[in-house]
Symmetry: C2
Subunit: 227 residues, 2 copies
C-alpha cells in the first residue's frame, strides 16, 4: 500500500480522512507547518487506529518532510492556504498523486457561498499550479464530523474528478476500501466546481436542518455499490 | 388549486413538468411564443393526462395570454431566452409566483459547464429582473426524459430555494403531490447556483454512464419522505 501524507492533517477534515485511510490499510504521514502539532495529531490518530484495530504506520513531520516521504499527498487545507503552500512545495510534489479536498467557501450574508476563482474551481487551480502532478478532486463533500467521530453515520457517494485516469483509479480503489462509501467518477477536472458547489449546498442544509448531510446519485446502479 | 402556466411548455422539460403538475391536480396553461405550437403541445398533454386518469383542465396560448390566465408561471426556457422573455412579460408577472426551472448550461470541451452569470445564477438573475414576483427555483435537477416518458423511474429530491417563504410553501406542497419526489428547501435564493451546478454534474454523469441520474440528500430524515 502507498504512504499518504495529509497536509492540513491536524484539522478535523484531514484527521478524519487520515483515520479512514488508515483503517483502509494505508500508511499515514501527518503534515503540518509546525512539526509539533503534526506529532500531537499523529499521536491522537495512532490511538484511534489502535482502537479501530487497524495496525497501519503513522508518522509526522513538517509539510516538506511529509511530502518527501509520501507517494500520495492529500491537500486538506483552507482555501487561502493553497497558493502559499504550493508555492513552497510545488516542485517536491512533482510526480506524486495529489488529492484535492479543498472547498473554496466563504460564509457571507447568512449562507455558505463559493468564492469566485479565475481557474473555475479550487481543483482546477491546484492542477494548474501543479502541472507535473496528477490531481484528483475527491472527498470534498464528506463532513469532518462523520469522518472523525461517527463512522457509523458515514454514508453517501464520494464524487471525484480529474484528468488523469491512473490517478483516479487509485483513488477509486482507496474509496472502495472505506466501508459503505461509493466512488462516483464524475469525469474531467472541470467538474470540480460542481463538487465544491455541492459542499456549499450541504453545509447550508446542515445549518438549516441541524444535521450532517451527504449526497447520493440515484440511477447509477451500474457502479459497484457497497451499501 | 392554482392555474400554472408553463412558458417553454412545448419543450420536453416543460411538457414533462406540466404532466406531473396536471397529475398532481393543477390546471395547466401551455405557453409558447407561437400559439399554434402551444395548442399542439396542449393537445398532446391532454391525451397523456387522460391516459393517466387525471381530469385537469389544459389550455394554451401565446406567452402573454398564458401569463395573464395563471397564478403561477413556470419558466422552462433555455437560458438565452430568459432576458428577452422577461423584458416582454416582466410587468405582467408582477405579483405572480414564478417558478424558475432554468439551467444556464453550455456544452464546452467535452462537458456541460455553468455559464458565468454576474448575478450569481439564473435564479438570482430572474429574481433581480422580477422584483415584484416571488421567485422559487426548483425542479432544475430532474431529467425531462423521466418527467415525460418514464414516471416509474422518476425519483430523488427536488431541491428548491428562494427568498419568499409563502411561495416556497406552495411549491413544497406541489412537490408533495407528485409521487415519490421529496421537496428539500435549501434556503435562500443564493443557493440557486448550487442547484444549477448539480444539473451540470448530473448531465455529465448521464453522458459518462449512459443513464438518467437524479440526486438525493442523505441524513435529512426529519423531512417528510414519501419514498
Amino acid at each position: 500500500m502507498a504512504r499518504i501524507a495529509l497536509l492540513g492533517g491536524t484539522g478535523a477534515e484531514g484527521l478524519g480522512l487520515a483515520l479512514r485511510f488508515g483503517i483502509a490499510g494505508e500508511d499515514i504521514i501527518i503534515g503540518s507547518r509546525q512539526q509539533q502539532r503534526a506529532e500531537q495529531a499523529a499521536q491522537r490518530l495512532r490511538t484511534m487506529l489502535r482502537d479501530a484495530g487497524a495496525p497501519c504506520r503513522v508518522d509526522a513531520g513538517d509539510n516538506a518532510a511529509a511530502v518527501a516521504a509520501a507517494d500520495t499527498v492529500a491537500l486538506s487545507l483552507p482555501y487561502e492556504g493553497v497558493e502559499p503552500t504550493l508555492a513552497q512545495l510545488g516542485s517536491a510534489l512533482a510526480g506524486k498523486l495529489v488529492l484535492d479536498v479543498v472547498n473554496p467557501l466563504v460564509f457571507d450574508r447568512g449562507m455558505f457561498r463559493i468564492l469566485p476563482i479565475a481557474a473555475g474551481s479550487a481543483g482546477e487551480l491546484i492542477q494548474q499550479l501543479l502541472p507535473r502532478s496528477p490531481v484528483v478532486c475527491a472527498f470534498k463533500n464528506l463532513s469532518a464530523k462523520q469522518l472523525l467521530d461517527a463512522p457509523q453515520q458515514l454514508r453517501g457517494d464520494v464524487l471525484l474528478c480529474g484528468d488523469h485516469a491512473d490517478a483516479k483509479r487509485y483513488v477509486v480503489d482507496l474509496i472502495r476500501r472505506i466501508p459503505v462509501l461509493r466512488a462516483v467518477d464524475a469525469g474531467a477536472i472541470g467538474n470540480a466546481q460542481h463538487l465544491e458547489s455541492i459542499t456549499a449546498l450541504l453545509m447550508n442544509l446542515n445549518r438549516r436542518y441541524k444535521t450532517s448531510t451527504s449526497v447520493e446519485v440515484l440511477s447509477l446502479e451500474q457502479l459497484d455499490s457497497k451499501s
